[in-house]
Amino acid sequence: MADVNYEIPEIQDEIETPRLKEGASAHLGPYPAQEKHMAPLGFPAARVEDWQSKGVEKLGELLKKYRSLQVYLDICVKCGACADKCHYYLGTRDPHNMPVQRAELMRGVYRRYFTPAGKLLPGVVRAHDFDEETLKKWVTYFHQCSQCRRCSVFCPYGIDTAEISMAAREIMDSIGVGHKYTTEIVGKVHTIGNNLGIPQPALKGTLEFLEEDMLDTSGHEIRLPLDQPGAEVLLVAPSADFFSEPHIQSLMGYAKVFHQAGISFTISSYASEAANFGMFIGSFDQKRKIAARIAKQARELGVKRLVVGECGHAWRVAYSFWNTLAGPWDFLDPNYPVPQHICEFTYDLYKKGALVFDRDANDDKVVTFHDSCNVARATRMGDRPGGQMMIPRELIRATCNRFVEMDPDTIGEKTFCCGGGGGLLTDELMELRVKGAMPRVTALKRVMEDKEVNFLGLICAICKAQFSKILPIYGIPMETVGGVHQLVSNAIQLGAKRGIV
């Protein structure tokens, strides 16, 4: 166990709803954004003087803009069905991390300024001012929500607390109260092209290094082309795929699939990021700017198809919002989904017989699969309902002999967040991340002990980074964590037969 100054949740046989502990995670807040992070995004450099009235004004604006926000603030009946569904509540015990209580931080302000009763009798309807204390709670607890939407699955009215937390962050940014991690990263996408800030020469060097690596290990000349006009496909991967373990294993898996199928592709240095943190900070404008880079490159390079790598929220933005943000995509080949998820892409080729997998290559593994929250609850893959759950599993079954599911209450649309989503994958929130991972770790440990699982298959860069860090703290080796295309990479038969597409 790691050497930390907080209590690591003890893993029980089952996920237990803990006793409340008021203020248990009140001390966990994000590093504030500074002028150099805020100004480039067009946000006030520091907290504005009239922040209270400006904040309320912004809330009013958002209520008009997003009808759903107004509905979510109005219709909660306090039934409590969502209360024990949030991983951060289960892990921290802090009542403000119950989704209903989190949302209440905004509802109180909403009632105070936008409802007749709240204006007249704030005390009676639990309405409160947008004051210093409230803002402090907003900063803290709207950065203890990973916008995973698990609560919305259990709410009889479908109230989506994730949307409330996005709106809260948008309001805070508008008054100059930002989060360093997310704003700094969005800035890097605008100036360099990706979250990590990998400049073109470094990216080029990295990809060449990996090509050499694959030649050494497989004996095949597998390419990772960069900035190649005229390629059939533009591959947009999360930039962690160019930097971290185990992410790069999946990148090599994608490359082998393209190679074996005989489909030309390119990565773009200008649009070298699938992730879109504009969503985490609730900013339509930032989301649009980030997505626009991809559309621009797709046109300039003259590609016919867009394929998105293993990244959860990126797939949500691509699948649900790219059309509005950066469409129309009428210049792309209408015979393929626009955009297409890499799992869909690979699975489709496999079904057509263009790829051959040797399952025995993964015989050292007993695999389980963690559904990423954004993929499971906010997107689709393929043409059947539930395809976003089914296709990654089918791919695992095609590449591995042994696959085991975790507790059904923790997978599919009921999946638990890894604990690091929604722009919280930052070290100052490590305690929150460790505690928030408790439900997933509980389910994982169960199948590790009962079914000998030793590999956690993932399709999200954030999940991979989060679990690589957090599992060792719970005594589970880092090597347990890997991508679905890492399994593909191990099993794919190169040169056996060349694509038939």
Partner: protein
């Protein structure tokens, strides 16, 4: 802005103690930062730090671990060219801990 004092000079850092100015770095600063991380700098530790700095000078970003392990393997022998060796040297993670001691900015993103 957080900072620390060493030999009569003030060094600016970010909230996590990473140097703000790459040019502020010298061996004493590295030793000071290593101490804060409870890392005892040996010859092998310096090899990693020096490689990181050279790479950063050229590419303006830290290398991915695989490039680092390969370079170390080339220099110090194949048996040392692996992630385990790097984690033995820098238990806090070669990317984050070694970067800090090398005076590089903290890699942030989905890492």
């Amino acid at each position: 802005m957080p900072s620390f004092e060493l030999n009569g000079r003030t060094y600016e850092t970010d909230e996590d103690g990473y140097l703000i100015n790459l040019a502020d770095w010298n061996q004493d600063v590295a030793k000071y930062l290593a101490e804060g991380e409870s890392v005892d700098m040996t010859e092998s530790h310096w090899e990693v730090v020096n490689f990181l700095r050279e790479y950063y000078e050229e590419y303006k970003i830290a290398p991915m671990i695989r490039i680092l392990t390969k370079a170390i393997g080339k220099k110090l022998g194949k048996e040392k060219g692996n992630t385990k060796y790097l984690y033995d040297l820098y238990p806090g993670g070669p990317a984050k801990q070694a970067c800090k001691i090398a005076g590089l900015p903290k890699p942030t993103g989905c890492v």
